[in-house]
Amino acid sequence: MSSARDTVLGRIRDALALAPTPAVVVPRDYRTGRALPDDERLALFTDRLLDYKARVHLCTADRTAEVIGEALREHGARRIGVPAGLDAHWLTGYDGEVREDHPDVSPAQLDTLDAVVTGSAAGCAETGTIFLDGSPGQGRRALSLVPDLHVCVVDLSTVAAGVPEAVARLAPERPTTLISGPSATSDIELERVEGVHGPRTLVAVIRTDA
């Protein structure tokens, strides 16, 4: 008896032989390669993030630590997690407990954290989306998921205008998470509720000169 693999592939070939269809050329007339001036990209990105109920702080790179510290204090975060590769300078405005992440840290231990601070890989202005790709300053996927507050630093220079431009910045082999606002559900009578299983609060710290 042939394997399921051979059977299924054989069925597909049979199906295609029974119902041959002409080859198609994919038209790609949709918008790609868009660029927007900084101020327009910032305005669009901010507008979309706010629409998704994210909190947005704008700052210059030299004020990163100050703004992160304020955001953490404002939400009462006493114990935070950070990826091992996070710029240590970013936490100089915060006086709570900082735990550096490591693959051996269990999900239950992540659950004892009040917040997480990470960088980001890219953004998309038109949809208000932030992309994390697991690079050193962003950490593994579980870290930015379990704590209830996610403070995420986004450099305006990495924010693309639209989805195609943003996707072009991704490295396919990296585990990638697209985040558009905090966790949300509309499952109960379609009334949107922020926060089910993922972080209930997303703070985007957008650095306008980086």
Partner: protein
């Protein structure tokens, strides 16, 4: 490859009697009962109306929406044309990246593979991300039967599971429940839930969060579906909102993903199209809150054991149908459900399948067949439509659902051996008692709402008109003619009235 020796054999449908691809009653009867449910109709009307409005506003926002639809449609068609090579490429890439690929001919085989993989981990419970494929094959029921407890983690799926109910919508499975019902379900079924829990959606969501958190943190195996899989890179994608998907995809040691073979995409770049089409068409959002993309296994990040189960279960049978195969292009956005006047009144349960609404009425018979001898409820599905065309207009990948329904009606009449004349007379008798439907049918006939054959003539019309069209070929008028009448005020009004008549009398609709 023993099956292909120059004489291709038609691939089999999903086996009868397994999984959730047919109900136990024909659509008109099931719909008739659902129509009596005031609450259901009110919930549905409000819900689908809300999503429709949101969808229109965010699709209208994109000046290149039509170009994206064209690209999406062509990518899917290209995918189907090259399915063998793309699946082999996907398998190679996933394997290179440390994953294991399994193939399943049908639901029984897929269920057995998943159960075996779960047992191998030593766990007797799994957490689940909402997945149409696993619902289709009845995975939860199978796991329970072998002593493995599956926990649905999507809020709506959790509601459905706790109530021992079935999903009624692709995207919002508990759309048929209101907040009071959900509060009661939680009070009755969540251990230790606050007895004073009120019906505010935020509080209900918080109760689900509390209940599931411990499961996320301790369960070692997860089962998911996939929205897309990229052949070029081996990347899988899951699109969601709540973060339960992210939890399942990253916290456990083992991840098992069950995916229909039609979900593959050729290139990573193709995601740029579908990440625009899907969220805007389904929830009416510019982007869903969370999308996870992963490629095989990443050391130090996420499950270190990844299995991909590629499922046929009738998909190759659909692929072998020159017209019907277009249904495989579906990306499960649910836009067609939300615009369908029939679905809006009957809800999803009337369709008896994991796939309800207009696409379900096409896909379900395509996957599982319409067994004439068995008085199959699926054979009533192609008639569960007013052919108003709204689904075609809404579909982000431009699946011509009305034409596919007509084709399936034709196949059904051929299969059952009912002579077209007899059928036509019976159906016509019903239609004549309903003037608006009769007018719509006449108009459809005059303008050629048909599946025109390759030679450009009309060889068949939908019942009740098939009796006449089968005996004489008519030159097919240009497709646009009917489309434009369709979208005119007159066309819409007539069809709406016809739909209302049909819904007022579903028993007569079952003309066969």
């Amino acid at each position: 490859m023993s099956t292909f020796l120059g004489m291709p054999a038609p691939p089999p449908r999903s086996p009868y009697g397994t999984g959730n691809l047919r109900g136990d009653r024909a659509f008109p009867r099931a719909a008739h009962d659902e129509l009596g449910n005031e609450q259901l109709r009110r919930n549905l009307g409000r819900a689908t109306g809300t999503i429709r409005a949101k969808r229109l506003s965010v699709t209208g926002e994109l000046s290149d929406w039509e170009a994206l639809r064209d690209a999406g449609s062509a990518i899917k068609t290209d995918t189907m044309n090259r399915l063998p090579e793309l699946l082999e490429q996907l398998e190679r890439k996933v394997t290179e990246r440390g994953g294991t690929v399994h193939w399943a001919r049908d639901a029984t085989e897929a269920n057995a593979i998943v159960a075996r993989l779960v047992r191998a981990t030593g766990s007797d419970e799994v957490i689940k991300v909402k997945s149409m494929a696993t619902q289709e094959i009845g995975l939860n029921e199978h796991l329970e039967s072998v002593g493995i407890t599956p926990y649905e983690t999507d809020l709506a799926e959790l509601i459905v599971q706790l109530a021992d109910d079935k999903p009624s919508h692709i995207l919002v499975p508990a759309i048929h429940r209101n907040r009071d019902e959900i509060r009661q379900i939680f009070r009755d079924h969540i251990p230790g839930v606050d007895p004073d829990l009120d019906n505010a959606p935020a509080h209900l969501a918080a109760a689900a969060r509390g209940y599931l958190r411990e499961k996320f943190l301790t369960t070692k195996v997860a089962v998911s579906g996939a929205n897309f899989a990229v052949a070029e890179t081996g990347t899988l994608a899951v699109v969601e909102s709540e973060g339960n998907g992210r939890m399942c995809l990253t916290l456990p040691d083992t991840l098992i993903t069950v995916m229909g073979i039609e979900k593959v995409l050729p290139r990573y770049q193709d995601l740029e199209v579908f990440l625009q089409l899907l969220p805007r068409s389904s929830t009416g959002e510019r982007m869903n809150p969370y999308t996870s993309l992963w490629t095989g296994v990443t050391p130090g990040d996420g499950p270190q054991d990844f299995h991909l189960v590629l499922l046929d279960n009738g998909r190759t049978a659909a692929l072998a149908d020159a017209l019907g195969r277009a249904a495989l292009n579906c990306i499960r956005c649910s836009a067609c459900l939300n615009v369908c006047p029939v679905y809006e009144r009957t809800g999803g349960h009337a369709y008896g399948s994991t796939y309800p609404g207009p696409i379900g009425a096409v896909l379900t018979p395509q996957l599982a067949g319409m067994h004439a001898a068995k008085d199959d409820p699926n054979s009533s599905l192609p008639y569960a439509s007013s052919l108003c065309g709204a689904c075609f207009d809404a579909c982000p990948v431009k699946i011509d659902i009305p034409s596919l329904l007509v084709e399936l009606r034709h196949q059904h009449t051929e299969q059952t051996g009912v002579t077209p004349e007899k059928l036509a007379m019976k159906a016509a008798a019903a239609v004549m008692r309903r003037p608006a439907l009769y007018a719509a049918a006449q108009k459809a006939s005059a303008l050629g709402r048909v599946v025109a054959g390759r030679d450009g003539t009309i060889s068949r019309l939908p019942p009740p008109l098939s009796g006449w069209s089968d005996s004489r070929d008519t030159a097919a008028p240009p497709r646009e003619t009917f489309r434009s009448w369709f979208s005119s005020d007159e066309g819409r009004a007539t069809l709406r009235a016809a739909a209302a008549e049909r819904n007022s009398d579903h028993n007569e609709e079952d003309a066969t």
